[in-house]
């Protein structure tokens, strides 16, 4: 409950800080302090040191797993603001509002990591999405940003409608919004209801969640929205928000997967393979690195879907590692990308000569995204695949995933090749000393987690 209350209150405070402080860098400092407070109170709740308890009538339940996942996402936001604060200031005049909206997104995420019923699932997703529509359109004069915002908004509310229909049908069949009892209850006594309601409802819910995490075949909005949004906010959307969406997706179906029958596994494996295929193959043909990253985020979503398929303890550890590895690498790489003027592959030609430090950190981020050993991305992918093997039977799915991971190496290494082995003079803004230090620290953290993944997982079991 701490994180929900504090993120909402701090969000409002941040919004008003725009009136009192005219200097943009002051507002960034306030945002960093607010995120630190949020991180500390969330950790404190997980350790039972300081917790505000509110009787939520069983609408929310705070598990250790959920709180830990929430801490990871808040920490990722903190790293994101520290690295890209300058760009948020430069997006437009309304710096304080953007930080406030980011806080409101975190409020939605805190609800999503604790929901115990379909009502809170719906509210969490909406509180998370609505500020994002605004952030996507933050660059008001830019037509591409406008287009991305309108597209995201129309598609987002359309999928919300689908999700609500799913919830309504499930409610009709069972008479309850509770997560666990929803599947077990046969429905109220003495009521005649058509038998298709429950399965139809769950299929609609599944489709809407697939949309939110941009899994194929509901991924068509992703490249356009990620490409059109200001790069800083793309970085936020593609990492933190997507990871939260995955947590909600897994939490929604984890307790009910056994009751959904064998067709459930077929459905999830179909979506996983389709997502891996659509993401990886299309990413190969992109000219713009930003658009390539949008497709690569679809491909990474395919890997995270494996946790939904296997649904065991190893999958839960895996999704934590994946969230850490993917958030760190993508936030880091976007922080480098923003500094480069030209987003095409040619724009990166010869970056290693001009800015060796930026190029070196970018290389580590890309290696982690590709899943090369000794980086965090390797163990993230390893845990996912191991969990699928442990759940039994689906060796073909593991082989497919490994093949597509091999395809992904091609387009990640294309960037490394451009940076190190091609001649060119890229226009690049070197950034402040703090930015460069943080970038190196982030790269070091990725290597550290890659060497010892247990330092993240031990936190989970402490």
């Amino acid at each position: 409950m701490n994180a929900i209350i504090f993120s909402a209150v701090l969000g409002v405070l941040l919004m008003f800080s725009g009136i009192f402080f005219s200097k943009k860098s002051t507002i960034t400092v306030i945002a960093v302090v607010s995120l630190l407070i949020l991180f500390i109170v969330n950790i404190a709740e997980n350790y039972g040191l300081f917790a505000i308890t509110v009787d939520t009538k069983n609408l929310l339940s705070f598990s250790r797993f959920g709180l830990f996942f929430n801490s990871i996402l808040i920490a990722a936001t903190l790293i994101f603001v520290l690295l890209s604060g300058k760009e948020i200031e430069n997006t437009s005049v309304n710096t304080a509002e953007y930080y406030a909206l980011i806080m409101f997104v975190l409020c939605g995420i805190s609800i999503l990591t604790a929901f115990n019923g379909l009502l809170m699932l719906f509210l969490g997703i909406e509180i998370m999405s609505i500020p994002l529509y605004i952030l996507t359109g933050a660059d008001k004069r830019n037509l591409k940003s406008n287009e991305a915002a309108l597209k995201y908004f129309l598609m987002g509310s359309f999928s919300t409608g689908i999700m609500l229909m799913g919830i309504a049908l499930v409610y009709g069949a069972t008479g309850s919004f509770d997560l666990v009892s929803v599947m077990n209850k046969p429905g109220s006594a003495g009521v005649e209801i058509p038998s298709f309601l429950k399965s139809a409802g769950y299929i609609l819910l599944f489709a809407a969640m697939c949309f939110k995490v941009s899994a194929a075949p509901f991924h068509f909005w992703t490249p356009d929205v990620y490409d059109g949004a200001p790069s800083v906010f793309t970085s936020f959307m593609a990492t933190i928000v997507k990871a939260a969406g995955f947590f909600a997706f897994i939490h929604l179906f984890e307790s009910n997967a056994a009751l959904l029958g064998p067709s459930w596994k077929i459905l999830v494996s179909f979506v996983t393979v389709a997502t891996l295929l659509a993401g990886n193959i299309t990413a190969v043909f992109q000219q713009s690195i930003k658009r390539m990253l949008a497709y690569s985020s679809i491909a990474q979503a395919g890997f995270m879907l494996l946790a939904l398929f296997s649904n065991n303890d190893l999958a839960r550890e895996g999704i934590i590692l994946y969230a850490v590895a993917y958030c760190m690498a993508t936030i880091g790489f976007f922080a480098v990308l923003i500094k480069v003027k030209d987003y095409t592959f040619e724009g990166f030609n010869g970056l290693a000569k001009k800015e060796p430090l930026l190029a070196f950190s970018a290389t580590i981020f890309l290696l982690s995204l590709a899943g090369i050993p000794l980086t965090a991305g390797f163990f993230a992918k390893y845990y996912m695949l191991a969990s699928v093997i442990k759940s039994g039977g689906a060796l073909w799915l593991v082989i497919t995933a490994v093949l597509f991971a091999a395809v992904s190496v091609y387009y990640y290494f294309k960037v490394i090749q451009a940076m190190y082995f091609k001649e060119g003079n890229p226009e690049v803004n070197a950034g402040s000393a703090m930015y460069r230090t943080l970038l190196v620290l982030l790269a070091a953290a990725i290597v550290l987690v890659g060497a010892l993944p247990s330092i993240v997982l031990n936190w989970f079991y402490f």
């Binding site: 605004i134 591409k144 406008n146 915002a149 309108l150 597209k151 919300t160 008479g175």
Partner: protein
């Protein structure tokens, strides 16, 4: 009235909304069709709530089971209102830049 009537009516309303979203080209009309979808869900939730509540009342006259569907409807209304305020602002922002609300215009990001 049997519950089937409500279900089929709401599904029809919902489908009209979906068809509108998929075929209309004016951003505001697309938006109205989305609202139609949400309202179909509202109606369905109220109907289901009444059905479950009626069944629970027959067993126990003091029962409050089944009223949470109607609570959900209020949350949907609030969220829909928040969505309208953001959505119309986005449409206005686009209209200022392009002097059109036609979503066929949205093809700059394709290439």
């Amino acid at each position: 009235m049997p519950i089937q009537y409500y279900i089929y009516f709401c599904l029809t309303l919902f489908s009209i909304g979906i068809i509108g979203v998929l075929t209309r080209r004016n951003a505001i009309i697309v938006f109205m069709c989305i609202e139609l979808m949400l309202n179909a869900v509202n109606l369905l939730l109220v109907a289901f709530s009444k059905m479950h509540h009626g069944a629970a009342l027959a067993a126990n006259p003091a029962s409050t089971a089944g009223i949470d569907g109607q609570l959900f409807v209020f949350f949907i209304m609030v969220v829909a209102a928040a969505e309208v305020s953001v959505g119309l602002a986005i449409i206005v922002m686009m209209y200022r830049n392009t002097h059109s609300v036609d979503i066929n215009f949205l093809n700059r990001l394709k290439n």
